[in-house]
């Protein structure tokens, strides 16, 4: 990964069943900010609805740090198959590779993998750095993506609770 120069900008996002402060006294179930992946959705990453950040680059050749804290729940179905998260940045999937491990894909071992009965929830953060060579003034959209292996079922921002996730992007000047 590239080393960077000075920090320039930051864009944050919160999505899920709460509002912007995160400490409302009631949750608001928001299907548009949730994702469920069934057993047939395996070996691929899917966009997490509501996680999109759109911004305009302020420097040519900038470097971008992507970081997220995502709420996840893995059902008992699946018998210990794992999950992972990655990002889409300016139309390109980064930090995760579709496909089974035997097909040079992701190992799906960031969370849950190896529990033989049922897994439940876990804390997972991801970070990734990109240096896409964009010019200043480019409009970019980025988002978080979720995926799993095998017959597991994954909930992201579990419905009917005050679940939510945070994501931010930092822009740095090149060295």
């Amino acid at each position: 990964m590239a080393s960077t120069g000075r920090h320039l900008n930051i864009w944050g996002k919160r999505w899920g069943n709460v509002g912007k402060t995160g400490f409302e006294d009631t949750y608001s179930n928001t299907p548009g900010d949730q994702l469920f992946l069934g057993s047939s959705d395996n070996y691929a990453y899917y966009d997490c609805p509501g996680s999109e950040i759109s911004f305009t680059t302020t420097i040519t050749g900038g470097i971008y740090l992507l970081r997220c804290d995502v709420q996840s729940y893995l059902t008992s179905t699946g018998g210990g198959n794992g999950i992972n998260y990655c990002f889409r940045f300016n139309g390109t999937q980064v930090g995760g590779t579709n496909g089974s491990s035997s097909a040079a894909g992701d190992t799906w071992q960031r969370g849950g993998h190896g529990d033989s009965d049922h897994v439940g929830c876990f804390s997972i953060n991801r970070m990734y750095v990109v240096q896409p060579g964009l010019t200043a003034g480019t409009t970019v959209t980025a988002n978080v993506m979720a995926g799993h292996w095998g017959s597991a079922e994954l909930y992201h921002n579990y419905p009917n609770y005050a679940t939510y996730s945070d994501f931010y992007i930092e822009e740095f000047a090149p060295l």
Partner: protein, 162 residues
């Protein structure tokens, strides 16, 4: 409900508070967050309406139950602020960051990112501390015992909106 935090620019300050400690809160079956002792720290806001991003880290032990637990932060400045994550009822938080639905007697690690539009004016004093809560268990701890401590803490970065 998705919320975009307005763009922010240069980093104004970074404040952190790290503790090597043990904590076993009471009241875990009440679905409430409990402040983790000795994790509070005050600092002064540099710029009116700036963006603060807090990263928090806790490690613990889920013992004797299949219930879940969660860690978060609280920020306060006078009468403003609150706990990021509802902790007042069974249909609130969900306590679904660590352990929920899994087996008991396993360790957990909880890293969180919290974006904050505090709306305070420059010069206001803000306090941040760690919070811990659990669902349907009395056996969850932040670190295992007084003999099994580890570092927990938070890092707050304030960014200019200019």
């Amino acid at each position: 409900m998705a919320h975009n935090f307005a763009q922010a620019g240069k980093c104004l300050q970074i404040v952190n508070n790290m503790k090597f400690d043990f904590f076993q809160p009471t009241g875990q079956t009440t679905y409430a967050y409990n402040a983790i002792a000795n994790t509070a720290k005050d600092f002064t806001i540099k710029e009116t309406g700036s963006l603060i991003i807090v990263e928090s880290y806790t490690q613990g032990w889920m013992g004797g139950s299949t219930g879940g637990c969660n860690s978060t932060i609280r920020w306060s400045s006078g009468s403003t602020g609150g706990i990021l994550g509802r902790g007042s009822s069974s249909n609130g938080d969900g306590w679904s960051r660590s352990g929920d639905g899994g087996e008991s007697n396993r360790s957990w690690s909880n890293g969180r990112i919290h974006c904050i539009d505090h709306g305070l004016t420059a010069g206001a004093v803000i306090t941040i501390d760690l919070m811990f809560g659990a669902w349907s268990t009395t056996g969850s701890t932040v670190n295992y015992s007084v003999s099994y401590k580890s570092v927990m803490g938070w890092v707050a970065s304030e960014f200019s909106r200019d």
